[in-house]
Point group: D2
Chain length 142, copies 4
């Protein structure tokens, strides 16, 4: 029987088996891709979990920001997965926007982290993605 | 029989019937949303049309940039459709990234515009979206 | 000055300028693509508008279904925009899933249509997309 | 220092901390969500890697199907992440469409698996997702 393929393994193997050499440093790139995908999923789930809370009325900013952050992380993850003929400026600006979104969403989720376990997990995923964006941005030579 | 609802009408009616007042000026906002959605679709279709060209090998940068631009425009369109508790800084950075993507993609499609009709249409959609982003960014007070 | 390009025009021109002949009838295909894109945007906006309503607690099923329908319509729209080497069975099943999502979302939005103008518009967009899927499915020879 | 949060952990924690009880069995649900996300990323990357191959002309069906499969898996992953007021029929049809897409994409990638390492990894991710959909569909009572 074949061993199972985890998400992290799948992403790393895909980035490694690309016919072109990576234009960005492998570790920073891979970590940022993984965190974009993780954060997109977490924010999608947190928006939905907030919606199910009795106090949903107090969570509408959190839901809205979760949805924005999910959209941005997903787009950023896609772009970073691609290694064919990249445009450095386009990528840089999108990763910057992603960092802003993650920072904003983390700050909002952190306000509810003690009350709602899902906001605690989501805040952690957002902060980790914010930092991964930061590390990747530092490798650009723009 | 009910009159048909076009995409533009649907978008405008949704932005008008939102319970909150628009935080961004209606005309610039609506025009930017429509162009993000239009550009996302056009880039998705242009990537696919390039793939079907005999000279696909010369179009791989165009395809890759089309896919990036589609992802970014789609995310930006979603975010601009939302009017509940917006975060001005998050939106500003994403619209900036969108403008960069549209400018980059337009420049590449324009190189093939005389040869491939789909690149000509796509370049036009990208330039129009770039300008719509520019007009919307000018309304921010950041 | 160049005339502006509307979303409908952009989509139609892209479907017309593809190097391959359409495998699905042009009118049914174009109408379905336009409606998928329109419905995706409308549902994204309706989820956000519901979130801003005072009675948000009674609208959580509507919000959730809007988000599902938006995701499905967007994926379906992408797939139908592509005309290179299509897989008929894959497309058929996705359009069927899209029809189900639109029917479900329309039924829920219709319950709030008299109270919330955005749900009325969204219900209309969903019904129109449901019918567009139906007409396109009827052209398949599977 | 806080331990890092992997994608799998993030997804599992989000599904566990939702205020509503899961309507689908936890193991099958989680496995399917993880595989949808993994397969969406893998297909996005495989489309891009194929684009960079010298023999891109022979890979255009693979690229097109990768893009379709990525769109469908992403939408399906989003829907399965949500646990608030689910519509069983909508979910069932989307997971069915996802299974079809994964089966189709796996079969095409398998044809190139010996020649292109990225197609081998992608085929594996697609097959694993196809099976995860199958197991989840078996738990429905429709």
């Amino acid at each position: 029987m074949q061993a199972e393929l985890t998400i992290s393994q799948a992403i790393q193997q895909m980035l490694k088996t690309h016919p072109y050499p990576n234009t960005l440093p492998f570790d920073e790139l891979t970590w940022c891709v993984e965190n974009c995908i993780s954060c997109a999923s977490t924010c999608t789930a947190c928006a939905d979990a907030c919606l199910a809370e009795e106090m949903v009325q107090q969570l509408i900013q959190c839901i809205r920001t979760n949805l924005d952050c999910a959209d941005i992380c997903e787009a950023t993850g896609h772009i970073l997965m691609r290694q064919t003929k990249p445009d450095e400026r386009l990528i840089f600006h999108q990763v910057e926007a992603c960092q802003t979104a993650c920072r904003t969403c983390a700050a909002i989720c952190e306000q509810h982290a003690e009350m709602h376990e899902h906001c605690r997990v989501c805040a952690k995923a957002c902060r980790q993605c914010e930092q991964a964006c930061d590390k990747l941005l530092a490798t650009f030579s723009l």
